[in-house]
């Protein structure tokens, strides 16, 4: 049993490195001026990607057999699966359009997701009764596949913007684009910081009132912000710079705020460092690599991803979700935050599709919409789970 789990996590590591290597091959296709060798690099890239995908599928099924249920029931498992679906969606679109540049950007986003996922507790968790249904697997996997495909549209949109936004002058477009890249960088910072302190086995334990009772709260990062009226128990830990406001009552509210602050500041530091090294905007530094990419094709790939992803997302995140909710909670719809955000995602992409019908909404505008849609998906995954959390709350 435990052996299965070891095999499983090794397969996940393997897929992580395979995606990383594949990214470099796709990178090679962009540099290369020669058509032949560039195609070669692209072929190798996609083959490695597929092997990585199979390895991750191996992770999925071995973990399934270890725990007895499909591993899509906590934030780690779900986010990892989401990364895997993004890769699958990339593979599908690669075979439709044969575009190497997509891999260069899609795989890093998937890598980021998987690394981000492993910052959450990875132990096997048992299923509470409401989750014990085949519809759970069907619903979560299909919804996640839909989101993965929709995310490819974000990747293509991002490529489009980096390729097309005029970098000679500072504008709203350049600033927002830098902001998007900053968010990606801040995610990297979060991963680096969490990994570093967990390798050091850093712990700072506080005693603080939680919902009226004294409780112990353990931080895994040095406390910038401590719990409201908390008292630091650990002797070697840094004392917090300030305390969280009183209304942050939840068990881990202050701790989450602390992690969030670390990510923001870490992101600023890392982003600043990059800007110092590059001496221009990050998007401006990537732009030359994309000179040979046809923007209309990028636009079409972004659109196609929505066209393919939208029905699957609807099926998984709304229809299957309703079937399951009808069984588990006797109502197919209950306006809980997770459901509402799935509906928002659905409405948002419906609006996207309708806007695409009118002239003038191709290109830049729809690329921004694709970025926004991904923002909504991530919001539903992270903020709704960690902050708003309703019935579906995994963590």
């Amino acid at each position: 049993m435990v052996d299965m789990l070891t095999i499983s996590s090794n397969l996940l590591y393997a897929s992580f490195f395979l995606y990383l290597i594949a990214t470099f091959f796709f990178g090679g296709t962009i540099r290369d001026r020669e058509k032949g060798s560039s195609q070669m690099a692209g072929n190798i890239g996609i083959v490695i990607t597929i092997i990585g995908f199979l390895s991750q599928a191996g992770y999925f099924f071995t973990r399934w057999s270890a725990s007895g249920h499909a591993p899509v029931s906590n934030l780690f498992e779900y986010t990892t699966f989401f990364g895997m679906m993004l890769v699958l969606a990339f593979i599908v679109l690669y075979f439709i359009y044969h575009v190497n540049w997509l891999g260069l950007f899609a795989l890093p986003v998937a890598l980021l997701l998987i690394a981000f996922a492993s910052m959450f507790p990875t132990e096997l968790s048992p299923l509470v009764p409401s989750l014990q249904s085949h519809w759970l697997y069907i619903h979560v996997t299909t919804a996640s596949l839909g989101q993965g495909i929709l995310s490819v549209s974000f990747v293509a949109g991002l490529i489009f913007l980096i390729r097309q936004v005029d970098q000679t002058n500072k504008s709203k477009h350049t600033s927002w684009l830098e902001f998007v890249l900053y968010v990606l960088v801040a995610t990297i910072a979060f991963i680096i910081i969490s990994t570093t302190f967990s390798a050091m086995e850093y712990e700072a334990t506080f005693q603080a009132p939680v919902n009226g009772q004294e409780a112990e709260i353990t931080y895994e990062l040095p406390a910038i912000v401590g719990p409201a009226s908390g008292e630091l128990l650990s002797t070697e830990a840094m004392s917090p710079l300030f305390s969280a406001p009183e209304w942050m009552k939840g068990q881990d509210a202050a701790k989450k705020l602390n992690t969030f602050l670390w990510s923001i500041f870490g992101g600023v530091a890392l982003y600043g460092l990059l800007r110092l090294l590059l001496r221009k905007r990050i998007a401006a530094s990537i732009q030359p690599m994309l000179k040979r990419v046809n923007p209309e094709l990028v636009d079409e790939v972004a659109y196609r991803a929505v066209a393919i992803g939208f029905p699957i997302f609807t099926l998984g995140a709304l229809i299957f979700a309703m079937i399951w909710a009808q069984q588990a909670w006797d109502r197919f719809w209950g306006w809980d935050p997770k459901e509402v955000w799935a509906l928002i995602t659905f409405f948002f992409y419906a609006a996207y599709l309708h806007l695409r019908l009118s002239r003038g909404w191709q290109g830049t505008k729809s690329a921004w919409l694709a970025v926004g849609g991904f923002g909504i998906i991530m919001f539903n995954l992270i903020v709704v789970n960690l902050v708003i959390s309703g019935l579906h709350s995994y963590a």
């Binding site: 048992p126 079409e300 306006w335 509402v340 609006a351 009118s358």
Partner: protein, 541 residues
Amino acid sequence: MRQINCECGHVNPEGTVLCESCGKPVEGNQHIDGNEGEQLLNMRYDGTARRSQTYNRTVVDKVWNFFSSVKVGVWLIVTTVIASAVGTIFPQEMYIPPNVDPATHYQDQFGLLGQIYYQLGFHNLFTSWWYMILLAMIGISIIIASIDRFFPLYKILKKQKPKRHETFMKKQRVFGRTESEDVDIERFKQNLKKQRFKIFEQDGHLLAEKNRFARWGPYVNHIGLIVFLIGALLRFVPALYIDEFVWVREGETAVISGTEGKYYIENKDFILETYDENDERFQDAIQNQGAPIPKNFQTDAVIYERVDDIVPGKEPELEVLKEASAKMNQPIKFEEFALYQASYQLNEFSEMTFKIHDKEDEDTNYGEFTVDLTDPKTEYELGNGYNVVIENYYPEYEMNDGRPVSVSKFPKNPAFVFNLYPPGESEPETSFLGIGANIDASGDNQYKLGLVNFDVRDVTGLTVKKDYTLPIIALGGAIFMIGVIQGMYWNHRRIWLQPKENGVWIAGHTNKNWFALRRDIGKAVEGTRIEEPVDQFEMKS
């Protein structure tokens, strides 16, 4: 109605932008689809006359035009998106604890913002009249926009002729001229057929078309949405929808609410299982949780049908309908009803047995009596001259300003005020007895009451549902899925070929995915000496 005669001989209805037959732009109508000054034709609905673009005089016209506008539709959707997001900032009223006053809860929990949220009515946003109106407007917009476009589109695709006007050809997005004596048109046709294009011919002019059915996708999916909305509306009809709740104690039989006294349920056993903390797979998670993790909630039940006439006060005559277990995700279904395991209450007291003893000596025993907590008697005669009267009973007691009160009628934490009459006495000794409390009221009691035994049982809570709208809602969902797939996974593609003195012109149109269309054309011209056309579209930004 004004009609428009085209030079090809076809008579078009008022408001036509491109001739229905040959596609020649109708002079003076090009502003309708925004074609003026544009290099390329707007081919969205093939330049057909749409009501919303033709009339704008009466109120009906104006309402029609408002709702058929995609721009308006998108604004409605965007407004709904923003409203829905607002509805998730704080919990909706249905998700706050049931026994708190929302007026103070929002303020206490979320401060000033919470209070504003409450006062604006956002705590019931999704059932508010204006949210309903938004959804209804989206529904109306879907219907009108679809009718406005579907019929003209259907007609024009039926009427279109292969022979096209030159201007139509030249102003297509994908267009190319080939000047050559020997193009192989037969081969071109063969190539197209291989790609499952249907070929229509007229005087040597060709129209190759495939996947026209994909154009109906949006209309099919819109119908699905409307059916779904209708299903959701029908839940307001009481005969179609019942949502009730029933509590049943173990060992008891209760009438199932919402069935008009026709069905009864007996709770034979309520089972709560938790995960074994020694299960090595889940050890870590259970430890982190700090509490047992439930594995199963289950009610073993018998469903009875009442077979006699329903007369108030008469003992019902029950016949077993079925024996089944309700679990999470596995409701009990019978007739048109379903029972869902929704709630439970563990270890409710069912019986308590007390004895009378000397205040100073617990080992003495002057008699025992048992109180049935769901139906306590007022007086218990112990048979040896001792009498106990229940002066007060608190099923779930709490101290409030030093006085006991009951916060519910469920015996979760029972307490009593007993009046004990020793033999021959007319003045009772009064004492207060609860779990962990045994208070002598006067302070000089001679006897004391002590708890010797108790029985507990579980109570299960089940929701009772009857829902005739589900099939309609499911049908709506299914139609919607068929429609989106039809419209998204297939694209309508057309390729025109026009013979010229010296060579051919070809043009192509698709409703989406132009690279794919060009790939089709690329394959079609292989070996025909027809030159591949170019995409004349230039992205503005």
